[in-house]
Amino acid sequence: MIRFLLKGILRDKSRSLLPIIVVSLGVALTVFYSGFLEGVMGDIIRQNARFETGHVKVITKAYGKNKDQLPIDLALLDVNSLVQSLENQFSDMDWVKRIRFGGLIDVPDENGETKGQRPATGLALELFSEQSKEAERLDIQNALVSGSIPDESGEALVSYEFADKMDVQIGDEITYFGSTMYGSMALTNFTVSGTIRFGIAAMDQGALIVDISDAQKMLDMQDGSTEILGFLSSGVYDNEVATNVMENFNAKYADSSDEFASVMVRLRDQNNLAGMLDYVDLASGLFIGIFVLAMSVVLWNTGLIAGLRRYKEFGIRLALGEAKGEIYRSMIYEAVLIGVIGSVFGTAIGLGLTYYMQTVGLDIGQFLDNAGVMMPITMRAKITPSLFYIGFIPGLLAMVFGNMLAGFGIYKRETATLFKELEV
């Protein structure tokens, strides 16, 4: 019977073409939208994790309250033993120390006179240590525009934009001006070993990247760091696991009134990412919901029109001995078949669009000029396994729902009345 119905669908173009087009379109949009959302949001979350928030992050309570000012005076101390105990307690996670600091960078000319000065945000990472994955994590090798990653004390990376504007070459000296952890003046020279461009607005404007040992010396921060980031072994943020880790850690310091006691925060609670994470779920749900509704209405109407055109056919089938319930059911089967066909086409189209947006991407650099947000400059979609089936939900639901409504008139009526109306 299904084969017979399928034959009918395929031969009667006027019955199937419009619904297939409607379903394909809706499904393609759903798939593409989901892929785009997943891609962009995923990138944002990944970048935040890599550059700023970790999957969880340990700071002092006081630092957390003032973190926008990069208050190095509120940094963690005794970090080696803290990292050691974190590694013991959460052994499958990766724990790294970082220091964020602000200051001025001065570029001297050949006579030692100031050629230019710019404010810079500094990031100190474990670059020199052998087992550190930090360079990989930030993908510095790929972000290098010229030069190389610092491998000895006194070397620094500067952002390409900065180097370009200030006319800084590889091997040039630059001077960092700032204050130490204890408020006295810090002044340190670095040799530029490379220039970098991450493709992230917040990182590419005036960044200075140095090894953590150099920063500790320069900022008088013996065995200190502003933060310790923890990364889950899977490499992907899992809110449940992160929450667990956070709660375990914080339980120890729950009733400490010490301003400098350490506290753990998860990715979700930083940089307004909670809203974003929730938005991803909500938005795709909402989007699918709206599509199901809108498509249902359209398909209900096409179903009604197709139903009218097929009254004669239904009459014949009644006479041949199909109960109207069976006819109704076969209409639903047809809807499922058409829904599947449309969903397959739509998914293919949607995946094609997603793939295009994954490889080419959408450059939004010009809109992010002053953005302090951790946003990728190129928005990219991402093909995930769920995209292969997600479109079938609105495709099938809308088609079946629309046709159930359309066929309801037939179902409800008396066989005799129906038969007369069918004018057989």
Binding site: G8, K312, L320, G321
Partner: protein, 238 residues
């Protein structure tokens, strides 16, 4: 009750509501029986109730009063499913307009009737081809309905009705849209099937050409049986 009769109508009355709580009585106190292998027809002016009566016998409708027994089943008591089943297995319909499903081929149209009975593919194909041979259309099997003539279309409809070898064939003005030559051809085919398969035939018709083939003619007027005459006794016996 005499269960020998294939169709037995007792005091069958059909009223249609026409609004304002009033009714139009389309059939009044009909008492008729039909037996196996009869070749009978309902004649009478337009509006006399012929189609209404056929629809009741075909279990597409049920009487308002009285009792309509078809193959031992009381039409009024059948559920949708049961009446569909009765039509599916035992009753073949032929209509004025040769109603074929346009997207399917001639062969598939005939096959469809058996598909509804869940008959296996090889048996289905064999029976469908045989039915097309009965009406002489085996060569048109793969044509679509819009590519064949009206007379041929009506013959396909006959093949579709007869392929399941129903006990009862109901034909509502089967020749109304056909020219004389085709009408005679159709009637000869139906008469042949009646003889060969012992199927009970019940026509509704205005057409003299049909009437001359009938063994029994029942005249309806204003919903009542006016005359019930065995016409072609000699023919029937021959």
């Amino acid at each position: 009750m005499d269960s020998e009769h294939i169709i037995q109508l007792e005091h069958v009355t059909k009223k249609f509501p026409v609004g304002d709580g009033r009714h139009f009585t389309a059939l009044k106190d009909i008492n008729l029986t039909f037996d196996k292998a009869e070749f009978a027809g309902l004649v009478g002016p337009s509006g006399s109730g012929k189609t209404t009566l056929l629809n009741i016998i075909g279990s597409l409708d049920s009487p308002t009063e009285g009792k309509a027994m078809v193959l031992g089943k009381n039409i009024a008591e059948l559920s949708h499913k049961e009446s569909a089943h009765l039509r599916n297995i035992h009753i073949g319909f032929i209509f004025q307009v040769y109603n074929l499903l346009p997207v399917y081929t001639v062969f598939e149209n005939v096959e469809f009737a058996l598909l509804l009975q869940n008959i296996g593919e090889s048996e289905r194909k064999k029976a469908a081809m045989e039915a097309l041979e009965w009406v002489g259309l085996q060569d048109l099997a793969d044509k679509k309905p819009d590519k064949i003539s009206g007379g041929e279309g009506q013959r396909v409809a006959i093949a579709r009705a007869i392929v399941k070898r129903p006990s009862i064939m109901l034909a509502d003005e089967p020749t109304a849209n056909l020219d004389a030559k085709n009408a005679h051809q159709i009637m000869k085919i139906l008469k042949g099937l009646n003889k060969e398969l012992d199927t009970t035939f019940l026509f509704s018709t205005h057409d003299e050409k049909v009437m001359q083939y009938l063994d029994r003619t029942i005249s309806l007027r204003d919903g009542k049986v006016e005359k019930d005459k065995t016409t072609n006794e000699s023919n029937k016996l021959s």
